[in-house]
């Protein structure tokens, strides 16, 4: 370092640039990094080990027969859970038909039409409370609302119970997605001469669509795996849902309840089927999650 003549001598600055592993700061940094790694691995263990068990024990029994035939009786060999697969798809479908339109429209109200109104404050509070509601209570509600009224366990009763569970997820994620649409985008829509309805339908909902779909997919995935609300709404059945004149108002099998029933039975055949059904259920949930991520990433 050259010092300009005439100026006071510059103080000598010593710098230590050498990396030292045993310095306090470096040690702490290393430890915390290692801790974070360990925690991340621990967090992955449950899913990986569950998947491993399911693939090993359920994969052995997974076959076209398992997917397409009726559950076996007591000592019967073979069989499958085709009717439970159909039942889950039908009930989750019914639940989606109920909860998605209602949920998205409610979100439009909460996010856009009356965000600060008394109605929306109440609805938002109710929805958030519903998020934490034990799922069995959704079953109790559907039991009272449908099973007692119609006099039979049925797929619509199960669908209603699942819809009650899906609703809060759909409403809250859709509200966030709609609120996340930038104000300048709304300005653009109004500025070009959109009515409020057109702003909502042509700009807000399409722009928020990836976010809304993510929420919908998560709700669907959750509903597909629910057991408790189906126990006394759809009950279970060893027969095809649409057997005998496409009757919907009859007890309906579902994968979740089949797993619950069969895993407690003293027969190896049924227990193997329960493993296979678990694998199928997890795969369904996994696929829906992956799809929702892909959709969520998609930006036009």
């Amino acid at each position: 370092m050259s010092v300009a003549p005439g100026s006071a001598a510059a103080p000598v600055v010593t710098v230590r640039l050498q990396r030292s592993v045993f310095e306090r700061r470096a040690l702490r940094n290393g430890l915390l990094t290692a801790g974070a790694w360990a925690a991340a691995i621990v967090a992955g263990i449950p899913l990986v080990s569950v998947l491993y068990m399911l693939i090993v024990r359920g994969g052995a029994r997974l076959s076209w027969e398992a997917l397409s035939t009726l559950p076996p009786a007591g000592f019967e060999m073979g069989g499958g859970f085709g009717n439970a697969l159909v039942g889950t798809v039908v009930m989750v479908g019914l639940a989606s038909l109920l909860s998605i339109p209602v949920g998205v429209m409610a979100a439009v109200y909460l996010a856009e039409l009356g965000p600060g109104s008394r109605l929306s404050r109440t609805a938002r509070f109710a929805t958030k409370t519903l998020t934490g509601m034990p799922s069995i209570l959704a079953g109790v509600f559907a039991y009272a609302a449908v099973v007692l009224v119609t006099g039979t366990y049925s797929a619509p009763a199960g669908g209603l119970a699942l819809a009650v569970l899906m609703l809060p997820t759909v409403v809250l994620t859709a509200e966030e997605a709609i609120k996340a649409v930038p104000k300048i985008t709304r300005d653009a829509a109004y500025g070009i001469g959109c009515t409020r309805t057109q702003v909502i339908w042509k700009v807000l909902l399409p722009t928020a669509l990836p976010g809304i779909l993510t929420g919908v997919m998560l709700a669907v995935a959750r509903a597909a795996g629910e057991t408790a609300p189906l126990l006394f709404t759809a009950l279970f059945s060893s027969y095809w849902l649409f057997d005998g004149g496409a009757k919907l108002m009859q007890p309906t099998a579902s994968l979740a309840v089949l797993i619950y029933n069969f895993s407690g039975m003293p027969f190896d055949n049924q227990i193997e089927l329960a493993w296979a059904a678990s694998l199928v259920l997890v795969l369904i949930v996994l696929i829906i999650n992956v799809v929702s991520r892909l959709v969520g990433q998609r930006r036009v």
Partner: protein, 278 residues
């Protein structure tokens, strides 16, 4: 809305037309504008002349944006907004009770400070207004025309299906201009359209404004006096009155740009254009 107003069409001189000369498209007499109890702008009479660029300049908080957004009733979206005065457009006061603000905005288009294309393809962005108005003609033709008018066609003609958001900031702003002119509005309002852009993109938009005024009447808010001198034919200078403990904007003077900058009538204008405050 099936009727499209041709640019530069003669206004329908029906009842209630104010006594102005024929070249005034918008006659805005603004007595008081409130946001809640806050008096934002007072006593400003602005005339927007056909086929010209009218620039609104003034220091921050002088209400120039408020005045601009009052012209097509964009401020109606702001809670607590209240307008006293009139905005005569084609012989009607757009603040009349029977006027639909949505219809007003279809004749008086707007370009905003931040480029705000919709999250859809470039083509759909430009076609948006046409579809909104159930345009019956050839949409693709009109989209191309609008993109050419916005000097964007050559850059995007091979990627019309790409997202509007994939473009650069300057291109996005020209896309927004194309979107606004696609429906051929009578007047184009621009609220500091270059403030988020770099100097080169700014230059392009300024050149574009000079071309666009052949087909459209333009009113532009700008923070930049040089920009006003480059693009505006008429300039309106607003200032802030802080005498009553509040900050209320008002029109100081307006006139041909050259005259306003070189021989302003008011002392305040002289001080502002010579850079003594901003």
């Amino acid at each position: 809305m099936s009727v499209m107003v041709k640019p530069n069409a003669r206004p329908a001189e029906s009842g209630g037309t104010p006594a102005t000369n024929g070249s005034v498209v918008i006659d805005c007499k603004l007595d008081q504008v409130f946001y809640g109890s806050f008096l934002a702008v007072r006593d400003s009479h602005v005339e927007i002349e056909r086929g010209k660029v009218t620039g609104f300049i003034g220091p921050s908080g002088c209400g120039k944006s408020t005045v601009l957004r009052s012209l097509n009733r964009m401020n109606d979206l702001i809670h607590g907004f209240r307008f006293e005065g009139h905005v005569h457009f084609h012989g009607r006061n757009v603040y009349e009770r029977t006027i639909d603000p949505v219809a007003v905005r279809r004749y008086i288009g707007m370009v905003f400070q931040q480029p705000n294309p919709f999250s859809m393809s470039i083509f759909d962005n430009v076609a948006f207004g046409l579809r909104l108005n159930r345009f019956k003609g050839n949409v693709a033709e009109r989209v191309e025309k609008a993109l050419r008018q916005a000097a964007l066609w050559d850059e995007v003609k091979d990627k019309l299906k790409n997202s509007g958001l994939s473009l650069s900031g300057g291109q996005q702003q020209r896309l927004c201009i194309a979107r606004a002119v696609a429906t051929e509005p009578s007047v184009l309002l621009m609220d500091e359209p270059c403030s988020a852009l770099d100097p080169i993109a700014t230059r392009r938009i300024e050149e574009l404004m000079v071309q666009l005024k052949q087909s459209y009447t333009i009113a532009i808010v700008t923070h930049n006096m040089q920009q006003a001198q480059r693009v505006a034919d008429i300039t309106a200078f607003f200032s802030v009155d802080i005498s009553k403990g509040s900050r209320t904007g008002y029109l100081v003077e307006s006139g041909p740009t050259k005259a306003l900058f070189e021989s302003p009538r008011e002392q305040l204008t002289k001080e502002y254009v010579s850079g003594q405050f901003s």
